[in-house]
Structure formats: structure tokens, C-alpha cells
């Protein structure tokens, strides 16, 4: 997820060493995959020969990378002997690299709305038929990307700070009379802002798209004096932790992070802005495509996705993974049955079409 890299320690690209040796010792796989690797360095994955012994994966770092490493990358390396190195994801950079025909990355993790233009411009490859498709990725993207996770941008507040009324809807987010105090909003990303402003202004969920930017930002003007801008999700989270704001609007995992650290925080799931999928896709002309497809397939399996959801509260994109999770884990995911019913689903396809205007209007509004 974009800008989640502030979540944790910035990690230098870590070379997973000893892959080949570990591959030979690998435990019986969760999957039907064949986990042996020969001395020449080439290996097999589900009967497909993989010659590359490494993958360069670009993502947004932070807590999501750390959790993915534990749930997906390390077990994959253990099974196949294929090492994974990291780079920092950047859509513009991907575009330049692929267009110059010398991509140095193999895989990029991207938001759903960032993925559609990549498919349209053939910047990512069609997946071979043997790679598992994820059913929670929309049908028009399934053949190009497996899923990574689902997240919601929603309201959260400290239960020990808000006396009296607590927020339930986005209209409450704007109601500074009944819920006094500042609101934290990130200034670096526009995601969900016009949608939530329109919901607060009384637009019916089914009529949010196409977005009426004028109306949305007129509504946001009302709230401006009560906003404290964070220059990242992390900064907004800190404002909430310090009690500087009454409510913060950030991804749901941020509130869970506060809860884990013993700070009494509640996540408002009602009208949570659900970004239902993000993608893992292989770049056109990727130097280690064969290994990248193998990792794609591995990450698409229910077991690693369920493991990931246990570590970080973002929803799996393979619905079978949900069946593997206990209720207490489901309760903190944006895609549990209960939370799905009350969420507002972001239209990634629409966002992809209006991306330029979507961010321009936000940037313009921020500068006031």
C-alpha cells in the first residue's frame, strides 16, 4: 500500500542468503509444489523449471513488507531456494524502466487503481495459466495480477479521550459541535478524501461515482479549520496517539498498531473506505520472470495469505484464506463478513480513469 513505508523501520534491501542450501533441506511444502533444488542453481516449482535464483521485488516497505516477509517471502525462499531482494515501489519508475526495456525489478506490489493503467499499457505481463488466480481481484485484472491485500481507510479514535458521542459515520467526522477536537488527515495522499466528504454530505453510496469534486472539496473547506495535516499516515497516527486530535482518518492497520501497543483505540468500520485489493504483478521484460511467476503463485495461495492476515490486519485476496482464520483475526480485518456489509467500496477502475484529476484536486485544495 502506498506510503505505508513509514510504518516501521526503513529496511535496507536484505539479501536472503543461503537459499540454495536451505531449499534442499526444505520442509514438506504446504502446497503440492516440488521444493527441491539442484546443485546447478536451477529449481522446479509445481513442475515448472525455474532457472533464476533471485527475484527483485518492489514494494512500499514498512510494516507490510515485514509481515509479508514472515508470511510469504521467507517460506518461499525456504521452499525454492530463490532469494528475494527489495526495492522501493514507484509507478513512474516502473513505467520508465519498462519503456526503456531494462527493468531491474521483477515484481511490483501496487494498489488496485495503480494496476489498471499498467495492464492497459502492457507494462505488466499476463500470468501463465498455471499461476493461481485470486477470486477477490476483479475479473478484468485477475489474469495480470494476483492479490496482495485489502485495506480500509477509516476513522479511529482513542476510547479514553472521547467522552460522550463517538463517531459512527463520516457525517460525524465533520460534526465538530458534537465531537469536538481536531481531525488528522494525511496531506501526502488523496485516497478516499473526496469519497468520504461526499458520504458526509449525504450523497448515497451508489451515487458517489462519478465524483463531484466541487461538492466534495466545498465540504472539505468546512472542515479545514479543524484539520491537523499529517505528512504521512504515521504522522496522523502519532497525532492520535499524542491526543492532539480526536479522530484520525488512516488505514485500519494503524489503529490496530496502537491497540497492540496498549493504547485504547477503536476502529470505526461503518462506512470504512475499502480498497478491496492490491496487486502483485510481473513487469514486462522482467529479468527473472520465471521465478517471479512462481512467487506470484505462492503468494496467491490461501495459506500464506492467511498467515499474512494474522500478522497485519489487512484482508486476503483469496477468499479461501478467510476460511482458515479464527474469528478474533477476522474481527480486525476490513473484509470480514460483518465489516464488508457496512463498508463503502472504492471503485478502483474509476479511480484509475480519473487518477490525474483525483490527485490534482486534492493537492490544490491542500495548499488552500
Amino acid at each position: 500500500m502506498r506510503n505505508e513505508q513509514q510504518a516501521g523501520v526503513t529496511r535496507r534491501d536484505v539479501l536472503r542468503t543461503g537459499g540454495v542450501a536451505l531449499g534442499a533441506l526444505s520442509l514438506p511444502s504446504l502446497l503440492s509444489a516440488c521444493g527441491s533444488s539442484s546443485s546447478s542453481g536451477s529449481t522446479h516449482y509445481k513442475g515448472h523449471a525455474v532457472r533464476s535464483d533471485r527475484i527483485v521485488l518492489a514494494d512500499y516497505g514498512g510494516a507490510v513488507r515485514d509481515a509479508s516477509q514472515k508470511a510469504m517471502y521467507d517460506p518461499f525462499t525456504k521452499q525454492t531456494g530463490i532469494r528475494i531482494t527489495f526495492a522501493d515501489a514507484d509507478v513512474a519508475k516502473l513505467r520508465l524502466m519498462v519503456e526503456s526495456r531494462h527493468p531491474s525489478w521483477d515484481i511490483m506490489v501496487a494498489d488496485g487503481f495503480d494496476t489498471y493503467p499498467l495492464i492497459r499499457d502492457r507494462l505488466i505481463q499476463r500470468l501463465p495459466t498455471w499461476v493461481t488466480r485470486n477470486d477477490l481481484v476483479p475479473a478484468d485484472a485477475q489474469d495480470y495480477a494476483t492479490g496482495q491485500n485489502a485495506y480500509s481507510i477509516c476513522q479511529g479514535f482513542r476510547t479514553d479521550q472521547l467522552k460522550g458521542k463517538t463517531p459512527e459515520t463520516w457525517a460525524d467526522f465533520f460534526d465538530v459541535e458534537r465531537i469536538p477536537g481536531k481531525r488528522a488527515i494525511p496531506s501526502n495522499v488523496p485516497f478516499g478524501v473526496p469519497e468520504m466528504a461526499l458520504l458526509a454530505d449525504g450523497v448515497k453510496p451508489e451515487n458517489i461515482y462519478p465524483l463531484d469534486f466541487d461538492r466534495a472539496y466545498a465540504k472539505m473547506d468546512e472542515l479545514r479549520p479543524h484539520i491537523l495535516f499529517g505528512d504521512s499516515y504515521g504522522a496522523c497516527q502519532q497525532f492520535l496517539q499524542a491526543g492532539s486530535v480526536a479522530i484520525a482518518m488512516i488505514p485500519n492497520g494503524r489503529f490496530y498498531d496502537l491497540q497492540v501497543r496498549g493504547i485504547a483505540t477503536e476502529t470505526v468500520w461503518n462506512e470504512a473506505l475499502l480498497f478491496a485489493w492490491s496487486s502483485t504483478a510481473v513487469l514486462t521484460g522482467a529479468p527473472h520472470s520465471d521465478a517471479a511467476f512462481a512467487l506470484n503463485d505462492y503468494m496467491a495461495q490461501p495459506e500464506p495469505q492467511a498467515e499474512l492476515a494474522k500478522l497485519i490486519p489487512y484482508g486476503p485476496n483469496n477468499s479461501k484464506a478467510l476460511d482458515l482464520l479464527d474469528q478474533d483475526v477476522l474481527d480486525r480485518l476490513p473484509t470480514s463478513r460483518e465489516h464488508l456489509q457496512i463498508a463503502f467500496r472504492i471503485d478502483e477502475q474509476e479511480l484509475a480513469n480519473i487518477q490525474q484529476e483525483y490527485s490534482d484536486r486534492f493537492t490544490k485544495w491542500i495548499a488552500g
Binding site: 477536537g181 481536531k182 496531506s187 501526502n188 479545514r224 491537523l228 495535516f229 505528512d231 497525532f239 499524542a242 491526543g243 492532539s244 486530535v245 490527485s359 490534482d360 493537492t363 491542500i366 495548499a367 488552500g368
Partner: protein, 251 residues
């Protein structure tokens, strides 16, 4: 070289009319005014505080002197980001300042000081002060204490001593420090960005915004060049004034 690249970019992307358009953009003009007022005020405040601090450094003895030096150097060594973030923690709603003032009964709610234009000032003065103190101190250190004794033995009152003996000695350092602080403040980014927030743009933060959020590299280039030229002009003028000053002292 980077300047050439910038100039090419500016001319190529914008053209003459585009450059004019960028420079007269109301957002940019607001940022320029805000920055000039900020840089000038910060330079003046630093000049006053810096002179006092430097005088204290020269005259203090023993542990007090060590303490003053320590405070100055520690503030110089601590990362700029850390010092700025310290101000964020101080000024944010329900932060240290709010809690203190509430405890004293001065306010009941919150100052809401963070992400306002005034919030930039204390942070900027804090960051810039060492750049002022050090040049003034260097000038003052050259002052011969016997001159002070001479002035006193001649019966000059303290104010006269300051004006006739200390001030001329202090002047070159003060000018150098003031210009340094003013010029540094003009292009400063981190502190205004953190304390002023995304709506209170300065020249530094608006250039960053054009580059990283609006992706108008042409506009960013035009603004950067404008900043470079202004800074260059100030240096040239200052240099002239300086030399004039030197001749005057020598004569």
C-alpha cells in the same frame, strides 16, 4: 551544471509566458511574501539574541562559559529534523505547551499553534541562532580587553563603551551572520514544512510541492532559479557593502 539543467528545463517546459505565469501565480506570490517576512524577522530576532549570546560567551567565565558553549554546540550537532520535530511535539494540540499553559490556567482549550505561520518562527530562530552567534563571537573574540579597560578608565559610561568600542568590532560578524541567516531562511524547507503545515507554503515548500505533488517540474525549475538569483543578488550586494565597510574601518 545543475543550474544549466534547471534553466533548460524552465525554458523548455514553460517558455517566456509560462515563466511569467509561474512567477505571478497567487500561491507563489503568497509564499514569497510569507518567506520574505519570515526570513527578515528571523534574521532580526537572531541578530538581537545572537549578539546577546555572543557577548555572554565572551564575558562569561568558568562553568557558565562551558555551559553556554555546550548549549550552542549541542544545538548545532543535534539533527535538524530532531530539533524541528521537538517543536512539533511542543506545539501540537495537547502537546507540552498546551498542557503547561493549561496547568497555569492561562488557556482552557488549545492554542492550536501547529500548522500556522507563527509556528514557524520559534523553530526557525532556534535552528538559525548558531549561524548568528558564531560569526559575532569570532569578531568579538578579537576585541582586546585592554580597550574595554581603557574606555572604562577614561570614564566612558557602559552605553558609550558599547557604541564606540564594542559595536565597531562586532559589526562585520553581525552583518555576515545576518546575511547568512536571511539567505538560509529564504530557501529553508524542513522547519517550515513541519511547523507551518501543507497550507502555509514558503518558497522552499512550494518548490517541493510543485516537484513531488503537482509534478510540474517546469514550475519548480522556474521557482528554484528565481530563488537562486535572489540569493545571488543578495550576496553580491552584501559583498559590496562589506568591502565598503572594510575600507571605511581601515580609513
Amino acid at each position: 551544471m545543475p543550474l544549466v539543467t534547471l534553466a533548460t528545463r524552465a525554458i523548455h517546459d514553460k517558455g517566456a509566458s509560462g515563466i511569467g505565469h509561474t512567477l505571478t501565480d497567487p500561491l507563489f506570490e503568497q509564499a514569497v511574501t510569507r518567506t520574505l517576512v519570515l526570513a527578515l524577522t528571523v534574521a532580526v530576532i537572531c541578530l538581537l539574541l545572537g549578539t546577546l549570546y555572543a557577548l555572554a560567551l565572551v564575558t562569561a567565565k568558568g562553568p557558565v562559559k562551558a555551559l553556554l558553549w555546550g548549549a550552542l554546540l549541542v544545538s548545532f550537532w543535534i539533527s535538524l529534523l530532531v530539533r524541528t520535530y521537538g517543536w512539533v511535539l511542543l506545539l501540537q494540540p495537547n502537546g507540552v505547551l498546551d498542557k503547561t499553559l493549561r496547568g497555569l490556567g492561562v488557556i482552557h482549550d488549545s492554542l492550536n499553534a501547529l500548522q500556522t505561520t507563527p509556528a514557524m518562527y520559534p523553530g526557525m530562530v532556534h535552528i538559525m541562532l548558531p549561524y548568528m552567534v558564531l560569526p559575532i563571537y569570532t569578531s568579538l573574540a578579537a576585541l582586546d580587553p585592554s580597550q574595554l579597560r581603557a574606555a572604562r578608565s577614561m570614564g566612558a559610561p557602559p552605553l558609550l563603551t558599547f557604541r564606540k568600542v564594542i559595536l565597531p568590532q562586532l559589526r562585520p560578524g553581525a552583518i555576515a551572520g545576518a546575511i547568512l541567516v536571511f539567505v538560509l531562511s529564504l530557501g529553508f524547507f524542513v522547519t517550515p514544512a513541519f511547523l507551518g503545515g501543507p497550507s502555509k507554503l514558503t518558497v522552499g515548500t512550494i518548490i517541493e510541492r510543485e516537484f513531488n505533488s503537482v509534478y510540474d517540474f517546469g514550475a519548480a525549475s522556474v521557482m528554484s532559479l528565481a530563488l537562486v538569483f535572489v540569493v545571488l543578488a543578495i550576496y553580491l550586494v552584501a559583498d559590496r557593502l562589506f568591502r565598503v565597510g572594510e575600507h571605511w574601518t581601515a580609513g
